[in-house]
Amino acid sequence: MASEFELSRNITIGQYVPTGSFIHRLDPRIKLLVFTILVLAIALNTSYVGNALGLLLSIYLFWVSKIPVSYGLSGIKPAIPFIIILAVLQLIFQGNVFSGGTVFFEYGFILITSESIRLVIVSAVRFVEIILLSSVLTLSTSTTELTHAIQSLLSPLKKIKFPVHEISLIITIAIRFVPTFAIEMEKMMKAQASRGADFGSGEWWRIIQRTKDMLPIIIPLFNIALSRAEDLILAMESRCYTPGNERSAYSVYKALVGDYIVLIIGLLLSLLLLFYPFPY
């Protein structure tokens, strides 16, 4: 029986599945860069063919990464009702906005056209593509690799005085403390339940009361986070951390020929999705 309070064990952030695939071994910087550009290109592409390409590509990448299909499905399954709701809403309300193309159906304010159908299908497929792509990224890359990748991808911005190290340190700290806070939170919920708290019973419409019911865990959560911050500040200062100072790096990545090839293919695909005028 799952406990009503199990939090820490259910957290899937950075759920790295080490299969040792080609995708896993890619230089994380290149992986992150290609992922980001691809997602943006897919997000901005509204054609059938473009999204079909994107879908094929994301299924292919998922397959190459040797990650069990169940992981991909577990991202899509809970979303199916939302996809349907969104599709219905778009069909009913968006016909007048995306009104180009052939008119299939018209009744009152409801207008269904080939353009609005395209919108519905592309939105749903796009969602599946991005789910698969982000699963490939997060399941094949450890959080440490990801933060290193962010840091090194942002590093050209150092020239314009953008605080690259500082930002990546913030991300590291955030990722580092999620499991710690989850454990604290679980204890806190149990502790408050032990003194009679219940979270979210009471009448559904009493907004203020319901919110107040959560305060016995929300206030301590923030207090714990902020008081830990005070400790961490001292610990970091003790270890000679000075924002803005030049630092050396312990983890270094070196891109190989294969990485560059992936980069080039990824860029070309993205350009294709962004600029090629697909007929459908």
Binding site: R176, I183, L234, S238
Partner: protein, 286 residues
């Protein structure tokens, strides 16, 4: 010998609002010399924690001076030199680990002072070896026990090769095993020549040190060898402190058997004293 750390008439107050301040340290002076193993003891609220934060310039005195390796902690331009010389390990193992992987956390301090990568690797290996955490180097910290996390934190400080490490109640959140692990590491580092300062309210831990400084109400009330300090049981009790169980036993035995020394502080000594007295007694009988 030049002291590593010297405090001269240090006073410090916390401001609680515009008009009120609370005086925490009052005219404190002492020096710490290379290779010493010093315990600072005092009850909660005695000022010992504020004092320890002065030892590497995390706090600077309101009046008076703290000198670390000849640098005044008020001199902002010397801040890094001071912190390179005096490292610090804190109470909560969780709140001082920055990175998501053990070895990267140990690297954090070295990266901050710009140690080249090759040199870094070797220093990290050595530090993890000393605290016996080498096999955990690729683990995320939240999978470690309290004692293990604390040893990672120590490795992070140790890798920077400071002259002195301050342990600010670093064992108080640990269980017996975690505490013993950490105490062993402290002793080992001291025999390797490092200066150790430990802030604690555990008397058996303080008994391990070469020297004890007792803090009460922001002032130093006693400073001396553990053996001499623990003679003053009444004073320590008055300061809401204790004496080690061994000392208490020795005192009770001494009342019954006057030639049994009452000035014992470590288990080893107790055993040896029993051996000595029992030999002497059996000698009498024979």
């Amino acid at each position: 010998m030049e002291p590593i750390i010297a405090l001269e008439n240090v006073s410090f107050s916390y401001k609680i609002n515009e008009t009120h301040e609370v005086s925490v340290l009052k005219d404190v002076s002492f020096s710490i010399f290379p290779g010493e193993y010093v315990a600072i003891i005092g009850h909660n609220g005695s000022g010992k924690s504020t004092l320890s934060k002065h030892l590497n310039g995390l706090l600077t005195p309101g009046s008076g001076d703290v000198w670390v390796r000849g640098h005044n902690t008020k001199d902002a331009s010397r801040k890094l030199d001071i912190r390179k010389a005096v490292g610090m390990v804190f109470q909560h193992p969780d709140n001082q680990i920055v990175a998501t992987i053990v070895e990267e956390d140990v690297a954090f301090g070295l990266e901050n002072i710009g140690v080249p990568r090759e040199e870094m690797k070797q220093k990290i290996d050595e530090a993890l070896e000393v605290v016996k955490m080498s096999e955990f180097r690729k683990r995320p910290p939240h999978h470690l026990s309290g004692g293990q996390k604390q040893r990672v934190a120590i490795a992070g400080v140790l890798a920077m090769q400071p002259d002195c490490i301050v342990f600010d109640e670093s064992t108080s959140m640990l269980d017996t095993f975690g505490r013993n692990e950490v105490l062993q590491v402290m002793r080992k580092m001291n025999t390797m020549g490092m200066t150790i300062i430990t802030v604690t309210h555990r008397m058996s831990e303080a008994a391990e040190a070469d020297r004890i400084i007792v803090v009460e109400d922001g002032k130093i009330v006693m400073d001396g060898k553990p053996r001499d300090i623990f003679k003053h049981k009444e004073v320590l009790m008055e300061l809401q402190l204790d004496i080690p169980a061994v000392s208490q036993i020795a005192e009770m035995v001494h009342i019954q058997i006057p030639n049994f020394s009452k000035e014992l502080i470590q288990e080893e000594e107790l055993i040896n004293e029993i051996k000595r007295v029992s030999k002497a007694r059996s000698g009498e009988v024979v």
